[in-house]
Amino acid sequence: MSTILDLMAEQPSSDLAHYNFAYLDEQTKRMIRRAILKAIAVPGYQVPFGSREMPMPYGWGTGGVQVTASILGAEDVLKVIDQGADDTTNAVSIRKFFEHVAGVKTTTSTEEATVIQTRHRIPERPLEPGQTIVFQVPIPEPLRFLEPRETETRAMHALEEYGLMHVKLYEDIARHGHIATTYAYPVKVAGRYVMDPSPTPKFDNPKMHRNAALQLYGAGREARIYAIPPYTEVVSLDFEDHPFEVNRFDRPCALCGAENVYLDEVVTDDAGGRMFVCSDTDNCESRRADGHVGEMGVPAAEAAE
C-alpha cells in the first residue's frame, strides 16, 4: 500500500510541493466549503458533495481530510488524533501530509490547535469558541443498519420518521439487557435530524452537546458532509426506562490519575501485566506536566531526568 508517507519519502522534492495550498484546487475547496456552509445551516443534515480522490486509502479518513483541506488557512494550527493519540501511523501521516501541502503549523496540544481532525475521540479538555473539530466518518447514514434503500432513508430524514432508530436500540436491549451500542451512538441534533456521530465512542456524546467548537463531519467514500454548529443541542436517543448512559471506568488513569476520562488498556509486559491509561495522550501528558501522578506513573521531573 503506497501511502502519502511513502510518496514523500521516495520523492523528497516530489510533485506534492507543487500542489495547491492544502492539496485541493481552489474550485474544489469552494465546492466543499459550500457544502460545509449548508451543513452548518441545517445542523445534522447530510449534505452530498463531490468527493475527490486523495493520495491515501478511503479507510484513512479522506472525507475528514477533504474537509480539513478546505477550511485550513495559513494561520491555522492543526492537531490530528486517531483514537485519542497523536502518535499513531494514521494521525502522523495526516499531520505530515498537511505540513507538506499546506505548510501549516501542527501541534499535539488541544489547547493550541485551531483545527483538530479526529477519527474517534473528542479531546477531554473542553473545546473553546473558535476551534473546529473535523471527524473522519466511515458510514454517515444512521438508518443504514436497518434500511438499505437510499431513497427510503432520504424520505425518512425528510419526514422526520425516526422510529427505526429505536428499533435498533430495542434490539440492543432485547439481546443484551441494556443498550450495548458503545460507538456511533445515534443522536438527534437541534431537535430535528438524527445523526451518526461516526465511530466516536458514546462516552464522548455528552461532549457534542452545546460544544463551543464547530463540529464538522466528512465521509469520503459516501461523499457526505454534516455539521453541528457551536452550542447546538445534541441529544442521545434512548428509552424512558433505559436512559442513555455513558460508559464509566471504575478507576483513574494509571499514569496521571485522571478520573472520568476515557481509558485504553495497555499491555505492559510479556507476563500479561496491563494498565489503564488516558486514551487522550495530550490530556495525559499535560496533566503529568502539571504534576499529577497516577498509581503507576512517575512524577514528571523524574521522567525528564
Partner: protein
C-alpha cells in the same frame, strides 16, 4: 346547551354515517394498456370486501392504487380520517399519507418478507409501529408485542427470534400482528394465504376471521381463491381485464352468480 355539539362529537356522529373509503372512477393505465378502468365502490367501517379475479384481472393494481402505493391515472379515493373528516388520498401530503399507512391502515403482503424486517426480532417487528408513533418505553413496547404475538398464536418465548427462523405460516401471522398493533381501521391484504400449505391456510383464515370480527376491522382483500373470499368477506367484487364484472353480497354472488364470467369462475372452483 345540549344542542351544542363539539366538533369532536359532530365528527364522531359523521363517522357513523358515511363509508370509510370511497373509490370513484379510478383508472390506472400503463401507456395504452389498462390496469384497471373506471372503478367505483365504497367500503364501510367493519366491512370485508374481497376483490376476486384471475391473475391479470387488475385486482392487485386496484389494491395498490387505493392504498396509494401506486399513483392512479385518474379518479379519486376518499378516506374518512380518525377525526371524521373525509380526505382525498391523492391530494394528501406525503408525510400525512405515510403516517396514515403505519397507524390507521395495515397492509398484509402475500410474501411476508415484503412486509417484515427479516433481520430484526419478532418483538421489534411488532413494536416498530409503536416506536414510529413515539412510544419510548421499552417495557411497554415489549408487553404490547408479547400480547400481540399471543393473539396471533406465536409463543412468547419466540419474541427475540428473527422471522428468518419462522415457518411460512408463523411469518404471515407475525406480519398480521405487526400491522394490527396500532389498531388500524382498514387493512389491505394481497393474497395473504397464497403460497401456504392447505392446512396452514385453514388455520390462518380461521385466525384472520376471528381478528377481523373481534377488532371490527374493515378489510379489502385481493384473492384468486373464492374459498378465501367465501370464508372472510361480506361482499365480493369480481374483476376481469381491469373491469368490475359483478359485485354483491358474498353468498349471493357465489351461490347465484349473474354474470357469465362469474358463473365460469364459480363452476371452476367447484370442480377443484
Amino acid at each position: 346547551m345540549n344542542q351544542q355539539l363539539s366538533t369532536d362529537e359532530r365528527a364522531r356522529m359523521a363517522a357513523h354515517d358515511g363509508p370509510l373509503l370511497s373509490v370513484r372512477d379510478l383508472t390506472k393505465r400503463y401507456g395504452q394498456r389498462i390496469g384497471c378502468d373506471d372503478i367505483s365502490f365504497d367500503v364501510w367501517p367493519g366491512e370485508v370486501l374481497a376483490i376476486v379475479g384471475e391473475s391479470g384481472s387488475g385486482k392487485t393494481t386496484l389494491l395498490n392504487c387505493i392504498s396509494t402505493r401506486l399513483p392512479a391515472t385518474s379518479g379519486t379515493v376518499t378516506y374518512q380520517m380518525r377525526d371524521g373528516q373525509p380526505r382525498n388520498l391523492f391530494e394528501m401530503e406525503e408525510a400525512e399519507r405515510r403516517h396514515l399507512l403505519r397507524t390507521d391502515w395495515g397492509f398484509v403482503h402475500q410474501n411476508p418478507a415484503d412486509g417484515l424486517r427479516m433481520t430484526v426480532s419478532a418483538g421489534a417487528n411488532v413494536g416498530e409501529r409503536l416506536m414510529a408513533v413515539g412510544n419510548r418505553h421499552y417495557g411497554q413496547i415489549r408487553e404490547t408485542a408479547t400480547d400481540w404475538l399471543s393473539r396471533v398464536e406465536i409463543m412468547a418465548e419466540r419474541i427475540d427470534d428473527q422471522p428468518r427462523a419462522f415457518s411460512g405460516g408463523m411469518r404471515q401471522r407475525l406480519q398480521i400482528a405487526r400491522n394490527l398493533v396500532t389498531a388500524p381501521r382498514l387493512v389491505f391484504m394481497d393474497e395473504p394465504t397464497g403460497g401456504l400449505d392447505v392446512s396452514v391456510q385453514a388455520r390462518l383464515l380461521d385466525l384472520l376471521r376471528g381478528l377481523v370480527a373481534d377488532l371490527g376491522l374493515a378489510v379489502i382483500i385481493v384473492t384468486h381463491d373464492l374459498a378465501v373470499a367465501r370464508l372472510l368477506s361480506d361482499r365480493i367484487m369480481v374483476m376481469k381485464d381491469g373491469h368490475v364484472i359483478e359485485t354483491g353480497l358474498t353468498d349471493r354472488v357465489l351461490d347465484d352468480p349473474q354474470a357469465p364470467y362469474t358463473q365460469l369462475l364459480v363452476s371452476s372452483i367447484l370442480q377443484v
